[in-house]
Amino acid sequence: MPTVSSRGDAMRGLAVFISDIRNCKSKEAESKRINKELANIRSKFKGDKTLDGYSKKKYVCKLLFIFLLGHDIDFGHMEAVNLLSSNKYTEKQIGYLFISVLVSSNSDLMKLIIQNIKNDISSPKPVHVNLALHCIANIGSVEMSEAFGQEVPKLLVSAHASASVKQSAALCLLRLIRTLPEAMTYAEWASRVIHLLNDQHMWLTAATSLIHTLSQLSPGDYKGCVSLAVSRLSRIVTSTYTDLQDYTYYFVPAPWLSVKLLRLLQCYPVPEEPAVRGRLVECLETILNKCQEPPKSKKVQHSNSKNAVLFEAINLIIHIDSLGLVLIPQPFWRQVDLMLPILLTSEFIIFLCVLSEPNLLVRACNQLGQFLQHRETNLRYLALESMCLLAGSEFSADAVKKHRETVINALKTERDVSVRQRAVDLLYAMCDKTNSEEIVAEMLAYLKKADYAIREEMVLKVAILSEKYASDYTWYVDTILKLIRVAGDYVSEEVWHRVIQIVINRDDAQGYAAKTVFENLQAPACHENMVKVGGYILGEFGNLIAGDERSSPLVQFNLLHSKFHLCTPSTRALLLSTYIKFINLFPEIKPTIQNVLQNNNQLRNADVELQQRALEYSQLSSITSQDVLATVLEEMPPFPERESSILAKLKKKKPASVQVSLVGCFIPSTESTEHANRPTYSTIACSFLLRFKLIHFKNLLIFADTIPTGSKGMRGLEFFLFMFKNSGVLFENALIQVGVKCEFKEQYGRVGLFFGNKTGNQLQNFAAAVSLAQTNPHNPQINVATQKEPPSQIDGGAQVQHFINLECISMFSGSPNLQLRYQHSSAPQQVTLKLPVIINKFMEGVDMNSGDFFSRWKQLGQPTQETQKIFQARHPIDTEAARTKLTGFGMCALTNVDPNPENLVGSGIIKTKTSQIGCLLRLEPNKQAKMYRLTVRSSVGEAAALICSMLE
């Protein structure tokens, strides 16, 4: 039997019960004993006899004990509430304890409880008031805030309340403010609360906590606390340890209050008043100086509390520095002080600061440097942590970098993973161009044995550093590939996407990248992420290394395909795309690849994506000519420069550590941002496929000889296709996909738009507006009407429809613009798209015989009515294909009209509200010269010119 404290009243029954529980040999025995007790208490509470206060208290206490053992308690609340109105302190106390621990804020009993608290809070006995205040603070619910939000502040500034009541009231109010900040009026009692800082010492810690929170919520009202806080701090740091008696903790005067005051000061800018500012600098210097003094005690409590104050002082120094001000060290500020009336201009102060040496920041850094090798693990941990912050300041960054070796050593030798994690953070923060190779190499070496918990984060950090400080891209490529080798499982999509993105954008990296991935793939076991990177890069740039017979096309293909069966479907899908790219790059291995594509393993694969890719790719490779293939499968155009997605990911993981050091982390680039609307990289695999889905094979064959080649990029190409088709994906990025489906009849058109939200979050303030470029507002060429406005929000993953009706009034060129605006995670986005409404959509074909055609042809013989162009055919001349293209364009292709069967003639009428414009077309190929002559005649000369230029 343990010694039960002799003080207070011991509840024997409770002690016996606790002993019983402790004597239980098994979990079952314990449950049995508890159930027996619960049944006993239940019957007592339900019994006819009214229980006296003592019994109630004892049973409530037993229930509490059972609850704390981890069992659920569903009765006894009423009895506990009854105890609150007992006039015996001890019963009241237990009642309040039970309620604080066990009553949830939405309890039915809350009204009763609040009533009891109201009685106690206005009691003349301070102990009762304190119990009530503790209970309010412990529950801290919204109801409590509403019920006592006005009451508690009164106690705080009351002339009669005792110090102990006041300190409870201060923290109680603090809790209520945290729960319901809007319910409080701050300004009203601001000045009285601020002046609590002048009050006697004993309850200041609590008051300062309150003022700190109030200052964060309403800084303006509490600005006055700064000078009071500085003078209070100054009194503490200059006092000897005997001055403050009870509040001196292991020879350190009032560490809790000091830290609170230092934190309070971090809510505000540096005081403007020179005297206050000078005093603050003096305080900070004193704190720094004290750390150099020999310790007054060998106890760890002494050094801990002294250093707690020091670290908080360093935080304040960093805070002041982050405001762009450097504190002038003591010898200087005295002089400044004297001259201030005349010379207090910001230039002057800054001028002095440049002269000043060493400033507080550097001193702080040196102090932390000492801690880096301290025998206390705690101090090493904290020094690494604080140095991370100092590394972000331009004044201390260099001082931090001096400790590089120590930090690297910490990474290698620290036994504690938490400390190693801090070392990684600091290395990351101090990395620059001069030390990046060493730091990245050390991090890579450590990654091999790093704890699983921090590997992913480390991978992100290595990836970011190697990109940010890459002086040449071979080093960058090597680093990322090594990263995949060492920690493939922790390499997230963002990382391997990024390396591909960079290789594609950098011509100088491509050949090396192809060579290196090829070498890496030759390892007997290589990570799936390596296969992905390898597949993609060889698909794009395999030709750059194909000259060497050790990496000939077939060798490359066989190497990749040997991994195929070991990979997950998503990687296999990527490899299939690589294969079709190979067919284009290396026509000589086409049969081998076609065999693979047409293998039943692919064609009948259970995975729909693989099946579709295999089918479409094998069709594409067998139906199309080499030229078509070359166009469709041309190298991916460069990606727009944007913030690295890796960085975004790291920010998500660790918001604080990134902000410090990533200013200006973009790769150097020669690219402009003209492709800003292109799909982002993360959707690359699917958009790659999308290119094929978009194109109906028939159309593909037709327009292929007029496809714009080279630099126009995907968007130009995609839009071009809409000349021949009426539906497809108009636009896609990481956030949104816009699909379109149009119908046209005579001069009327109906455009259905489908907006798909690809994110998980709601897109807000969505708006879609149609405008026709270069149009005269009084005389529009197209009338636009919407049936109803598009919804203003699109839920995550949802698709909404929006219909637009159009009427073509007169001839127009170009296309109307669709302007989309929306907000994603409160960042406004804007996209301008071209609607696929082109003049040829309003054209209908007219069938006519040879006689009619030529008689009309001659009628339109004036020079203004004809436009003729002669141009090079970019692809082999194929009359059949051209004929189909013409039909897709909207004209009727006429047969047996032209005496030369190679020539192609067509006719159509553009229908607008105001006029109907007849158009006739004649296309004469010259196979020997590979030239076309295109002649268009129309009743309106502009139309002829327009159609001619569109078809060219």
Partner: protein, 161 residues
């Protein structure tokens, strides 16, 4: 601000838990489970601080008991460590060389002491003597009624009341 404080034994049995913000019961149990196993798995001489989820965890072992608290990102770790130590000192003075059993058998007293020391997750009174005086003051109020109750309680335990 301190978010919560836990006292648990080397066997992982929770002896005291104090939550300073509103967290659901289920979530509390989950936090206790994860945190206890994490702290217990750490070796001596490792540092007393841990980054855990959105909290900084500060813990220290005293004999068979672990004292563990969670503070906010911007809080001062060393001072939290000394909060724990001051709490232990107060318990020690009150119980006279405190041991785990004192806290088990007098758990309600441990709660009362903690309420005088910390409130709303902030230090209420950092002076050891003042906290002890406040607790003793309320104890003296109990003693007034003690004698009559003590006799009654013995009778009751034997079913004689």
């Amino acid at each position: 601000m301190m978010k919560f404080m836990l006292l648990f034994s080397r066997q992982g049995k929770v002896r005291l838990q104090k939550w300073f913000n509103a967290i659901g019961d289920k979530e509390r149990k989950k936090i206790i489970r994860e945190l206890v196993s994490m702290v217990l798995s750490r070796r001596p001489k490792m540092c007393n601080f841990l980054d855990w989820k959105d909290y900084k965890v500060v813990y220290k072992r005293y004999a068979s008991l672990f004292f563990c608290c969670a503070i906010e990102e911007s809080d001062n770790e060393l001072l939290a460590l000394e909060c724990i130590h001051r709490f232990v000192e107060i318990l020690d003075k009150y119980f006279g060389s405190v041991c785990e059993l004192d806290i088990i058998f007098n758990f309600e007293k441990a709660y009362f002491i903690l309420d005088e020391f910390l409130l709303a997750g902030e230090i209420q009174e950092s002076s050891k003597n003042k906290v002890l005086r406040a607790v003793e003051n309320s104890d003296s109020l109990q003693e007034e009624n003690q004698e009559a109750e003590a006799t009654r309680s013995i009778l009751e335990e034997f079913g004689l009341s």
